[in-house]
Amino acid sequence: MSETPVIYVIDDNPALREALDGLIRSVHLSVRTFGSTEEFLRFKRPDAPGCLVLDVRLPGLSGLDFQREMEKLDIDLPVIFITGHGDVPMSVRALKAGAIEFLPKPFRDQDLLDAIYVGIEGDRARRRSSAVIEALRGHFDRLTSRERQIMLKVTSGRPNKQIAAELKLSEVTVKVHRRHVMRKMKARSLADLVRMADKLADGAETA
């Protein structure tokens, strides 16, 4: 996973696009600019943290509509809005939908850069947690069906004796399976394994 963040800028005004390109490069961040959301969607994004600087008024789909569309398209980038004619209700709508900032043009460069840093950090954290869940899923997939069964029972707090009775197995067999589960899941303790089970359940909900 590459760690150099990339900032995407979508604005239909070429002058502002170039200016933002220069400004963002001046703080040593990678930047890609697009004149429309279609252009942005055609671009194959690298696997790196980033954020999206989005103009509200765009040809075709407006920036606000695109923000809603992103969820359907499974684009999980933090959004910073820039606008030439924003009003309060518009900014409230954008921020409620999860935008980091709503900046009227012309904006202070530091305000934009601060928002970009917040966005990158947010995206990094999100990617880290989704990477962790990804790894857990990988481990979980390698368990046998019997081991999965036993992991679920163990993490819901059942003692070995009860599990053995429920599954009509000997207590020793349950202990062996349980050790395999701990090793394959790379869990250091029972508490660790319980946290993993929670994360997997959360991940299954949000996916």
Binding site: L16, A19, G22, H85, P106, R108, D109
Partner: protein
């Protein structure tokens, strides 16, 4: 408007063809039947139908044609029937056709005049309510300005780097200059836009302009329960200028006056519009209201652009009015009304 709409949906030749067919049918029936039967009266329908697709001159031609057809079929049937009653019938028919034609032409001309007045109002209000135009200009200018500022900031950052990146800094400045030029181009376009209709120069009767403008604000006066008094002098000299622009000034002053009065809940609402001879050869127009009046310290400022005393005003109306009046060589000023309200007056020089 409605008329044109009807015309647009039917085939354009349908109505004229039906009219001609009807005229021929009446002619045939009239010629075949006895003289005393008053078929020609039906020609009035032909005239009324022609109103739908003819200009006033065309309606007159159709009326004349109908009269001619009436006389023609009379000649053809002169041999049969009672001649005495026939002549009376023919005369009545011809009078009916002539009357119908006259009334149709008059109502059409009035419609045309009303349409003209609406067009003028549309033009006047388009120029007066600058709101939308201003918003779009502001947006157009704001875009390059945002780019200018961003490029300037980027340049500062490139220069502050250690070591400074002069190449990038120079490129940022080049973009900045380009964007600043773009903003300046937009301003030049806006200037050209406002200059694109050169003021017309004609000899104008000031009272006519005042009366024409009054006809545009009837509904405003009614809606706001304002009484109107006109005090137009007979001896106001004619002035040289642009009718629409001067109408715009008067309209603006009157709308301001009505608005000022509508914001005062109590007391009489009287709008007085007057004209007078000014400075021997010039003209003076005064618009007086009975609103809250103006604070003395504001009297000088109200004509400045972007200065407004209204809660939702743009501060453009009086500024534009002043520039129009001054372009005509005149002067505009405000003073306190007696016993209350405000008086706005402008003078225009006479002669040429």
């Amino acid at each position: 408007m409605k008329l044109q709409h009807l015309r647009a949906i039917a085939a354009p030749w349908l109505l004229p063809a039906a009219t001609v067919a009807l005229a021929l049918a009446i002619f045939v029936a009239d010629t075949v039947a006895d003289l005393e039967i008053a078929f020609p009266a039906f020609y009035t329908i032909v005239v009324l139908m022609s109103v739908r697709f003819c200009k006033p001159r065309g309606i007159v031609a159709v009326g004349a044609g109908c009269v001619a057809l009436t006389l023609l079929s009379d000649l053809a049937t002169a041999a049969s029937g009672e001649t005495g009653i026939g002549v009376v019938n023919t005369t009545i028919s011809i009078l009916a056709i002539a009357t119908t034609t006259y009334l149709s032409v008059r109502s059409e001309s009035e419609k045309a005049a009303a349409y003209e007045a609406r067009l003028q109002l549309a033009h006047v209000s388009r120029v007066t309510t600058l709101g939308e135009l201003t918003a779009s200009i502001a947006h157009e200018v704001n875009q390059p300005l945002a780019a200018v500022i961003t490029n300037g900031n980027a340049c500062v950052r490139w220069l502050a780097a250690d070591p400074p990146d002069l190449g990038e800094a120079r490129a940022a400045i080049a973009r900045l200059v380009k964007d600043a030029n773009r903003a300046s181009e937009i301003i030049a376009q806006v200037r050209a836009l406002t200059r694109s209709s050169p003021p017309q120069q004609e000899r104008l009767a000031v009272n006519d302009i005042v009366l024409a403008t009054l006809s545009l604000i009837d509904s405003e006066i009614l809606q706001n329960h304002v009484s109107l008094r006109t005090e137009l002098a007979d001896d106001v000299p004619r002035v040289q200028g642009d009718r629409v622009q001067l109408q715009q000034v008067i309209l603006n002053l009157m709308l301001n006056a009505i608005e000022a009065m509508s914001r005062v809940p109590e007391g009489p609402r009287l709008l007085t519009v007057g004209s007078a001879r000014h400075d021997r050869v010039g003209a003076l127009v005064a618009v007086q209201d009975t609103g809250a009046g103006l604070a003395p310290e504001n009297l000088d400022r109200i004509f400045n652009a972007f200065y407004t005393t209204k809660p939702d005003g743009m501060g453009m109306g009086l500024a534009i009015s002043r520039s129009i009046v001054e372009a005509h060589g005149g002067r505009i000023w405000a003073m306190a009304g007696a016993p209350r309200g405000a008086v706005f007056q402008f003078s225009l020089p006479g002669g040429a």
